[in-house]
Amino acid sequence: MPRRSRIMEPSDPSVPAKVELPRGLLQASVDDRTQYFRTQRYKHPVLVAARDKLVQHILHPGGRRMIQVFGPTGSGKSTLCALVAQHLTDTLVDIQRTTGYSTPLVLDALASESKSFGWKDFYKQWIVHLCQLHPDINIDIGVEGVRRTANGTIVINERVSVYNLREAATLLTRQVKPVAILIDEAPHIKKLASGEHVSYQMDVLKSLIDRTGTVFVLVGTYEMLDMINQNGQQGRRSRDVHLHRYTAQGTEWDAFRSILNTLQDHLPVARQPNLVRMATYLYKGCLGCVGILVPWLSDTLTTVLKAGKQTITKKDLEAHKLEPGKRLQIAHEINEGETKLANIEEKCDAELDMLLGITPPNAAVAK
């Protein structure tokens, strides 16, 4: 067959480029097709903005090395973690040359079985991940009970104390200098034994940040709001990044529709459905959270493909919609978080002036 040359039409920058599905995808197996749709990283505006902000903060932390990222469930927090880690790793050649930092470390604040947050497990995970990232790390740092076996796996003695584990983690971290440590599901840290304060847990993080000299990024749902302003020391050392959902107004609504447009382009079905026309329906189903929308569509896609259908209809979507009870729960959480956030900033001005003993703001004060 003669090879035809492809002619590109001049594209209008204001219209988003039409996505082309990989060749042969429509003929691929159901699993491959859903896999394709599910694993695409959809870079929507809020996510990209948050990523840029976060990367900026990580590379130029100034005096504030604790970054707190919060948003509703399904707003793309884990995706954000992955994106930021990816971005930092990609640009690392530059970073490394100028600063000597190495790849970021992504950790999970594991929910613990016991009454309070398991720092021991956290430190172990930290040490193991760090050693995996840097196989050539010198583990002989004078902490007993942490050693490497002949085949390179890290063995940590059960009886090593928290204190020693912390020491090992900080020393190893200082050795390789990861550009940032991202902690997903950070609200688990505020899980407490009786008689302790959340503020104390934040002090531990503060100590870790001071000792390691690394930027810590804490990521979590609006539960984070209970731990972001625990004490002044934390406040001075931290920054907030809000990863919000899309609201149904103005530019955000347009952005939401344009996400739908992108998503429908990526759907590997024979006949493309018009998701944009169902925008209101879909919005209600996902509450403006892209992280709820994508799994919903991909579940629907699996069923549709298995049934051998040509396209996705509203009926198919309805079958996989989140139950009303769950949606209501999420909506409540979102509402609560957003209200709390608004209140925090709102009441500040007058109270701050009162506490600091400043007379009513004069002309020199901005805004």
Partner: protein
């Protein structure tokens, strides 16, 4: 240089003449108009409260009758850690001649205690840190005794090891004739939950200080006060100093704050000096009167402006780097709380904070300050 110093009034000229550390470059002023960003970052402003406390603490620590415990209480970002560093320098300078005579002498050790993960503060981590701090300066020159080395490798393994570690610590402080241990984040020592009470923690530190004849200088926030008071109530020699931020309402302190801003403004690495003086209330509010917070904020903003290639600092840059209002509110609350706590337990008739810092008048001489036979 002296002229500039006088002009700024950050400390009086005589003080600068007598204290070695000041001449040694603890405080740097821009040599000329052109300063690069590094020297701005490293700039230390010797503001009034910092310098007053520095002298007061130094005097207390080199006196015949040293207090057992010295507490420096101040909010975050007021300059406690900086004060600790300066004080360490001063004390080393003071005992320098003696250190030359007796190489085993380590007059001062400084540590920063980490927050405990759960429960009460574990003392073995404190022992470990102090021992570490002692070995650092001479680690190559000294043969470690095998037993202690073994202990260092495994702190907190068992109660026996902890007790042995404490023995090692006491021995070390005694043999090194350590005069003062400077402890940053001292409020972490006062953490007590469960069976351990605050009185236990307070008792422990007093025991240590008494057994070793070493003054423990605790730097910390308001959480520290309760423990200090407890020690004081038992009749031990405790001095509590309040390192308060600058108060806007107090005209003199406002002037001091203004001079800090002015010094920083002059040191900024820009072709065109920004006009920060017109933004004073805004700057004050953005740092709650704490020079440390102000400094970090300005560094952030300056770096951003340099990054963007701007000829001077704009208010937008300051705005972008400012600490969120909610966090400032928390800091302001803690400042108020701290003042309240410190006022409350002092004699209620005193209008001034109970800080032991005596304010001298400018140019008034302090007896016993001059060095003889240099």
């Amino acid at each position: 240089m002296t002229c500039l110093t006088n002009l700024l009034g950050l400390h009086d000229a005589q003080d600068g003449g007598s204290s070695m550390a000041i001449n040694k470059g603890a405080i740097m002023y821009p040599e000329s108009g052109a300063t690069d960003k590094d020297s701005f970052v490293k700039l230390i402003v010797g503001h009034t409260k910092l310098m007053t406390l520095r002298t007061a603490l130094r005097d207390a620590l080199v006196a015949e009758q040293r207090p057992l415990i010295l507490g420096v209480v101040g909010p975050t970002g007021v300059g406690k850690s900086l004060l600790l560093r300066l004080l360490e320098q001063d004390l080393t300078d003071h005992w320098l001649a003696e250190m030359h005579r007796d190489p085993s002498l380590i007059p001062v050790a400084s540590i920063c205690v980490p927050a405990p993960e759960f429960g009460s503060f574990p003392w073995e981590s404190y022992y470990h840190l102090v021992l570490e701090a002692h070995q650092e300066p001479l680690i190559q020159a000294k043969v470690l005794d095998a037993e202690r080395e073994h202990l260092l490798a495994s702190p907190g393994e068992s109660r026996k090891a902890t007790r042995a570690l404490r023995g090692a610590l006491e021995n070390c402080l005694r043999c090194r004739r350590t005069q003062a241990v400077l402890i940053d984040e001292g409020q972490h020592l006062s953490r007590a939950t469960g069976k351990v009470t605050l009185a236990d923690q307070a008792g422990h530190i007093v025991d240590l200080a008494r057994a070793t004849q070493t003054t423990h200088v605790l730097f910390g926030n308001h959480e520290l006060v309760a423990m200090l008071r407890l020690v004081q109530d038992r009749g031990h020699n405790v001095q509590i100093h309040h390192f308060a931020p600058y108060h806007w309402a107090d005209e003199q302190e406002r002037g001091d704050f203004e001079r800090v801003v002015y010094t920083l403004q002059q040191a900024m690495p820009f072709a065109m000096q920004p006009d920060l003086m017109s933004l004073l209330p805004y700057l004050y509010r953005g740092c709650c009167g704490c020079p440390g917070i102000l400094k970090t904020w300005l560094i952030d903003a300056v770096m951003q402006a340099i990054h963007a290639g701007l000829p001077t600092l704009r208010q937008e840059d300051l705005e972008a780097c400012a600490i969120e209002k909610s966090k400032l509110l928390k800091i302001a609350e803690e400042i108020a709380l701290e003042a309240q706590i410190l006022h409350a337990a002092a004699a209620p008739s005193l209008p001034q904070p109970p800080a032991a810092v005596k304010k001298r008048r400018v140019a008034e001489r302090r007896p016993g300050r001059d060095k003889v036979g240099m």
